[in-house]
Symmetry: C2
Subunit: 276 residues, 2 copies
């Protein structure tokens, strides 16, 4: 099954654009066992999400051998219809990118990854050659320093454009199998709107909701595609650490449910005022 089909099935089946980030922070976890903690979160929220997104940094920080062993067990607990998205932000020359592809697509079995565009086409191509896998390329991120490079004014034939718009255009040109996506932070609704205009049919991963305090309604309105989908709205710390008590998994479920419903209310509003 190609990635786009799988993603659309995940949106459809869950009725949700929510992606839950699984970023283990030993200081915030109710129980010490990283795998057990995240498996409990997965089991409590799997019917509410289209995707789970472990950021591999937090597994490498545990000591990579131990961290990846835990990650593998967490991945095994995810239902097959939910997108397994590795937030890895890898980006290296072609020969090396192929080694990362083996690690993330083949060995760990992820459906999709986040990748960096800084090294250009041949660094991204190995991730996109596999139609059954998806690659979300960093475009406009949600952090305070995002603009240092991404907002630089680049001279183009059509006049000056911010770098992130140039990146969006490049990724669209590189996307031969319909399996490319973009990372567009939830903290910048105006940028989201501009990127959506450039790439009307592409899925966007939108991190920054919750802990990073994105403006949810504005972001979702700006990012929805013409069919009222097109987004993976990610919440990590805000949801998974909703409680430090024994009820942590139920609390994460409640937080995920509230966020899914909030996103869907925006979708309904847009649909009601929208379709011509």
């Amino acid at each position: 099954m190609n990635f786009r089909t799988k993603l659309e099935a995940a949106w459809e089946r869950s009725g949700s654009l929510l992606c839950v980030g699984l970023d283990p922070d030993p200081a915030q976890m109710a129980i010490a066992d990283v795998a057990a903690f995240n498996i409990a979160i997965v089991e409590a929220t799997a019917d509410l999400v289209c995707a789970f997104k472990p950021n591999v940094a937090f597994y490498e920080a545990l000591g990579p051998e131990r961290g990846y062993e835990a990650l593998r067990r967490i991945l095994a607990a995810m239902p097959p219809h939910v997108i397994k998205l590795a937030d890895a932000k890898r980006g290296d020359v072609e020969h090396t990118a192929r080694a990362y592809v083996r690690a993330f697509y083949d060995d760990l079995g992820f459906d999709a990854v986040t990748v960096s565009p800084y090294l250009g086409h041949d660094s991204v191509a190995p991730w996109l050659e596999r139609p059954e896998k998806g690659a979300f390329v960093l475009c406009r991120t949600s952090n305070p320093g995002a603009g240092d490079l991404q907002d630089l004014a680049v001279q183009t034939e059509g006049g000056a454009r911010p770098l992130y718009e140039v990146v969006a255009g490049r990724v669209r040109a590189w996307d031969r199998h319909g399996n490319a996506g973009l990372v567009v932070g939830a903290t910048y609704p105006e940028e989201m709107r501009r990127v959506r205009a450039l790439c009307p049919g592409m899925p966007f991963l939108a991190p920054g909701v919750g802990a990073q305090q994105g403006s949810l309604a504005a972001t979702v309105s700006a990012g929805l595609d013409a069919r009222g989908a097109g987004l993976l709205v990610n919440a990590s710390r805000g949801g998974t650490y909703a409680s430090k008590g024994a009820d942590f998994a139920q609390a994460a479920r409640a937080a995920a449910q509230a966020l899914r419903d909030e996103i869907n209310a925006v979708r309904d509003t847009v649909a009601a005022r929208g379709a011509p």
Copy 2:
């Protein structure tokens, strides 16, 4: 000891600007055991190099648990005075960058890493906060697609400049502890010259010699700092896979020695015509 002091001691003690990349490729290795193979290379070349640079992609591709376990053993075989440089090209938001810092600096014990600038200042700052560690930021890389983003013409107060020059300027501004470096590919001597002019005192990691066929003499001439150092000239596949036979470690030593001598001959030439 701060990173700059350690790097200068490594240059001085080895009399070499050579960095040997340790990128295990099971198809090319003379023996199947990744740790044993690379430990043999390390032992055969340690007196000829200022640094060893494992690219972690090739360890993750082995299955990350197994790969990092092997990497840890390889790191343990490196003499303390040689720089241990993780080619990881990580780049993520501050909170996440701190997790990668724990993994690479603290848990694995690297002296330095390569990092991506695309997410801006707060993604690079955690790597630079530790004066005893060094971060080499991707600037102008050596791959065919490097120019897709890095050569884009950016509007600045002083006129249009390629993105990689803007990145060089930013990294210089972010470098409060003298522990920042840049990655400048060995395939682009003219770009190397321009970046050296912008950052006269900064160490540059120059990959692309050997397998990527950089023009060694032109690159080294363009990249040397005023004291005839300032470079870590990396060779990976070209050196470590010089022989597929039982003599692989001796062959790697011979290749490293030839390359070190070639680099030093360029240094001598530049010094002879140079100093006023």
